[in-house]
Assembly symmetry: C2
Homo-oligomer: 341 residues x 2
DNA sequence: GGTAAAAATTAGATCGATCTAAAAGATCGC
DNA sequence: GCGATCTTTTAGATCGATCTAATTTTTACC
């Protein structure tokens, strides 16, 4: 079999010539313009098929203001929470004929800045971004300087403005506290206290407010690290103290599962001796033993909302900024079953 | 504050004029060519900074054969295994100044074909693809037709050829069987038997071969579904049968964790009454209770290898195809501890 | 049949870079 | 001082589409 020679690509002009029309007409056909008479359209489409034409969107982008391309900059792709979110973004993009660049800042503002610059050079229409820990206003300044429309997800930079989508962490935690109180728990601790970014602060604040609401002491907080581990020494100190906790609300499901494992190693019977509540409702929460009660933050829905919001922003750059806070509902499972059950 | 007028973008010609050189010279400077005399380079760089020039890679792509863009088409982004893989791809891309489109086929060959077409239109240099269940040779034909270099990861289409990266499932399972035998298990079942794609077949084959090697019966196979659930009825039938299994090797960690939960509900003490081994070594395997013994398939490394291989292919399109099979090692944890411990 | 209005098509400029091939400038030996 | 060589810079064509403004064709109506 002979190798085909230089397979030089077919362009619109070739198609136009084959169909006996002008380049402009062929262009209108590929874009599905209603201006073209049906018979002509047919002829052009036929020529396209014959020649194996492939639309060169890159060339089109040079003339148009939109590229049908967005960037998704996440602080840690490897986190399952973010993969659900990514899937949500992809759902909306697929429906809108948009493709999505993905970039992983790994919680490094420098890498994040580099990625944004790169995305800008590739002419993305806008970005969805979960700011890396340590991001500050220079992030938004960079975006402004690059005139890059953006939607922040989950976290926002301090004092930042602009479109934003997140879950209602505080009210989710309030529901969790109420549930614990209703099932007879009084000594509730929070595992994974941090103030590294807005989402962490929101959770901790939510905990303090909810505890105050129920007039319970809110001083049992175990520090978290990296969003997936907590201070084990501090936890053990509380567990072995004179007034140990009888339940815990965790920063996220990852920590909650680690905590469950920790407690089980120490002989606790979960749901009975001790109630554990996580956050996010990752698939693994339902599959754990015992199944984990958790505050569902709906990452997929957040992704969908962010992608939709970004498209709205692109269509109407001057619309007022929008901050979407999606409800966070409590999913009750065995890890927090009432003691009397 | 007055809104700035039409912020019309600065292009290379503007930069060139400001620096008192030609467009061609400015172009050589942005590309870091050594042809330019240092003082001239300085002048141009200074002008770029002054004017806030942003390189338009999209325009450059029109003339060049490479766009520094690749596509990553996954069968299910939401799967944590794939997010690790994505992170690995991103590591290599970040180092190579390449950006990556992500697309989720959700195991639908149709959606997959659509996504590939879209990526092609955006002129990606190549794709890394984990073929959706049901993909056949038409996938490779499509890629060929679009003259799109590709690397398959984890799975390959039947009879397919071309670059490929995966883990050594069979030898991983062999190690798992040997470990179980050495710790006194004889009645080993496989949970998650499927033949929907090459990776599933490879695991099942590996199980049968390993069992034959140890002259053990290999007839206990529980069917899997979707890569994350198994046939619970069939499992219970085996557990309650006359010759119940004493251990299980699972298709992946997700199923293994579900199985652990299942067995714990039924009163088994894991690691003692029953040994469970998973596959992949997701972070959650180590965090489970008891910690899960698993066959580490190193998704991040697979992603890195695939991205590296794709770059090699792009640099030398005629190099012989390569099939990289990364080792899969057994990570022993408490879920398969010896009975006598 | 003639003309106005509507529909369909098109020529040519344009987006912002790269590439080729050649020109201009600097350096050197003798 | 002069050609040869090396270094540095550049003009102009080009990639493959879209866009504007105009032209051509068709339809409608009296």
């Amino acid at each position: 079999m002979k190798k085909s020679p230089a397979p030089q690509p077919v362009n619109l002009l070739d198609v136009a010539r084959a169909a006996g029309v002008s380049r402009a007409t062929a262009s209108l056909v590929v874009r599905g313009s209603p201006l073209i008479a049906p018979p002509t359209r047919e002829r052009v489409l036929e020529a396209m098929k014959q020649l194996g034409y492939i639309y060169n969107r890159g060339a089109a982008n040079l003339r148009q203001s939109r590229t049908h391309t967005i960037g998704l900059v996440l602080s840690n792709i490897a986190n399952p929470f973010f993969s659900e979110l990514t899937a949500g973004v992809d759902d909306v993009n697929d429906a809108n004929d948009v493709v999505c660049f993905i970039a992983n800042s790994v919680e490094s503002p420098e890498r994040q800045a580099r990625q944004i610059q790169r995305l800008r050079e590739h002419n993305v229409d806008g970005v969805i971004i979960c700011p890396a820990i340590g991001s500050n206003d220079t992030l938004l300044e960079d975006l402004q300087r690059l005139s890059l429309p953006y939607v922040q997800v989950l976290r926002h930079v301090p004092y930042g403005s602009g479109d934003y989508v997140a879950a209602d962490y505080a009210s989710g935690i309030e529901k969790a506290v109420r549930h614990l109180v209703e099932t007879g728990r009084q000594k509730i601790m929070f595992v994974g206290g941090m103030s590294v970014h807005s989402a962490a602060v929101a959770r901790l604040d939510g905990f303090h407010r909810a505890m105050a609401l129920h007039q319970l002491p809110d001083d049992m907080v175990v520090a978290g690290k990296w969003g997936n581990t907590y201070d084990e020494v501090e936890l053990d100190r509380l567990l072995l103290g004179s007034n140990p906790p009888d339940s815990a609300i965790c920063y996220n499901d990852i920590m909650a599962l680690a905590l469950m494992s920790h407690l089980q190693r120490r002989g606790y019977t979960l749901g009975d001796d001790f109630a554990v509540i996580g956050m996010d409702d990752l698939p693994q929460a339902a599959a754990a033993y015992p199944p984990l009660t958790t505050i569902a933050t709906n990452p997929r829905m957040i992704g969908q909302a962010a992608a939709t919001l970004l498209q709205k922003r692109l269509e109407a750059p001057d619309r007022p900024t929008e901050r979407i806070i999606l409800p966070a509902n409590l999913v009750i499972r065995a890890s927090s079953e009432t003691r009397t059950s």
